[in-house]
Amino acid sequence: MAQRGSVEISPRGGGEKRADSCPACGAPMDAEELAANLRVCPACGHHFPLSAGERIELLADQGSWEEIATELRSDDPLGFYDLRPYHERVEEAEYETGLSEAMLVGTARMHNMDVVLAVMDFRFMGGSMGSVVGERFWRAAELAAEARYPMVAVCASGGARMQEGMLSLLQMAKTTCAVEMMASVPVPFVATLTHPTTGGVMASFATLADVIVAEPGALLCFSGPRVIEQTVKEKLPEGFGRAESNLEHGQIDMIVPRRELKDRLVQVLGMLE
């Protein structure tokens, strides 16, 4: 069992706008009760998104999290402007999430095992992967390789940070090289794919992990359902791209409910060390 005592998820922490009822089963939601249940619907088991902070609380032993690469911030190499300038979108995301970027990296202990954690937050510009996410992942991998700590990445991403143009696409190549660096030691690398993990993250480090774990119901795909419906006008089967479908088609190793996640990750890492 997970150590419930070390997990404190605040009722008003991160995550999307808090619903009054479960979007999956319609059961009325009590914020306190939901938080006490690790933001999993007590009625149907629907997994609500966690913020990066909540995820770290869930996985790291109490007081063990030490963030690295905290000073990295997005720049605006393209001078990108669409309806709004890029820097304004970043500032808004910083303000709304209280985070510095879409991925936090650092060291922690999980049941006393030293690990490197890389945790994404979908609320920060859709968890998009730009230069900072790529560089943070690189530094996390470098630390894992040097200290010989296993790495646990928790993914949640809509894909590339379009406002950084090709530089964001190249983070796929960069994070791939980072995974190769860990593989050459080797240190174990386990990815936890959470709702939703799509696009460039799905086509780079997320699917290069030694073991791929997913949360129930998470949408995991390269092209999202809307893109497929609009571009190739294909009818989508029930449950398309969900964790369960990915498991059936051999794309992931296991689906682990949130309550068992930490224990299972530690078990797997322990057997690979």
């Binding site: 720049d75 090709m166 086509a203």
Partner: protein, 330 residues
């Protein structure tokens, strides 16, 4: 552009553009202060930059022209280059798991007394061949075939040349079920690991992850009128402008032309095309690619394999721009 604009006036416009770009970058670095709104100034600068772009002939219009050229139906495709550069090319097919994907072709080429592995995206020209080639949009089996051929090349010490030309990986249900994301990722990892020299040439459309999968190479070359982009301008416009019709604006903002990407350090070398574009003279375009390939392979073959691998990874490690402790790092 009209030659009358060259000289003094052009320089003045360039200087103004540089000034505005620097100002925009400055504004982007200012902390958000309560009561200070920069939106208006940013909008004004952005508007002026767009105007300047139009005047200098390299703004939204120019980027969009490149998009059209890169997608020109008469532009040479991978098999056109292969036919012109490597007579006696032997195509190798199939991923040994599921199928042969006609959107990616590959095989052995005799080249200056040795062998080369050539792998490229392949589009079609008429309705039948376009459908057969799936418009150059690979499915997972295409990427797995590419990996199989790269491993074969590795086994016999054969250098790898890739020709990149795709709107993107195919977005389909079956492709997803067979692991499109994983197929791209493992192709990237395969290219990162190769001991043999690798050269990628963006010959037309470098569309998103589906293109990048074949371009994690020691040298990334780009034909002048090609594009290389994180997303198609149409998709970008529909996401950020909420209107696919703004694709021209997106094309400019994405900085997807060869000169943009040379400035950003994304590509190692831009290859000039024959007058009017590669579609005007396939043979000349192929000669240009062949010469560049020769020179780059010559340099790469002087290096030891582990140094090549280290430098390849080092190059992609440096990709990106961020700030750290007030400094902008590139």
């Amino acid at each position: 552009m009209p030659s009358g604009l060259f000289g003094k006036k052009k320089r003045a416009l360039q200087e103004e553009e540089g000034r505005l770009r620097r100002r925009l970058a400055e504004l982007s670095r200012l902390p958000t202060l309560p009561g200070v709104h920069l939106k208006d100034e940013v909008a004004k600068i952005s508007q002026r930059l767009r105007e300047l772009g139009r005047v200098r002939g390299r703004g939204e219009g120019a980027s969009w022209e490149k998009v059209k050229l890169a997608r020109h139906p008469e532009r040479p495709y991978a098999l056109d280059y292969i036919g012109l550069m490597f007579p006696g090319f032997i195509e190798l097919r199939g991923d040994r798991c599921f199928a042969d994907d006609p959107a990616i072709v590959g095989g052995l080429a005799a080249y200056q007394g040795r062998t080369l592995m050539v792998i490229g995206h392949q589009k079609g020209r008429d309705l039948a061949s376009r459908t057969h080639r799936n418009f150059g949009m690979p499915r997972p089996e295409g990427y797995r075939k590419a990996q199989r051929l790269m491993r074969l090349a590795e086994k016999f010490g054969i250098p790898v040349l890739t020709l990149v030309d795709t709107p993107g990986a195919y977005p389909g249900v079956a492709a997803e079920e067979r692991g499109q994301g994983g197929a791209i990722a493992t192709t990237l990892a395969c290219m990162a690991r190769l001991d043999v020299p690798t050269v990628a040439v963006i010959i037309g459309e470098g569309g998103s992850g589906g293109a990048l999968a074949l371009a994690l190479a020691d040298r990334v070359l780009m034909l002048e009128n090609s594009i290389y982009s994180v997303s198609s301008p149409e998709a970008c416009a529909s996401i950020l402008w909420k209107d696919a019709a703004e694709a021209k604006l997106a094309a400019e903002a994405l900085r997807l032309t060869s000169s943009d990407l040379e400035d950003l350090g994304v590509v190692d070398e831009v290859l000039p095309e024959p007058r009017g574009g590669a579609h005007r003279d396939h043979a000349a375009a192929a000669r240009i690619v062949k010469e560049a390939l020769e020179e780059n392979l010559r340099q790469l073959e002087l290096m030891k394999p582990d140094r090549r691998r280290r430098e390849r990874c080092g190059k992609f490690r440096r990709m990106g721009v961020w700030r750290e402790n007030g400094l902008t790092l590139f």
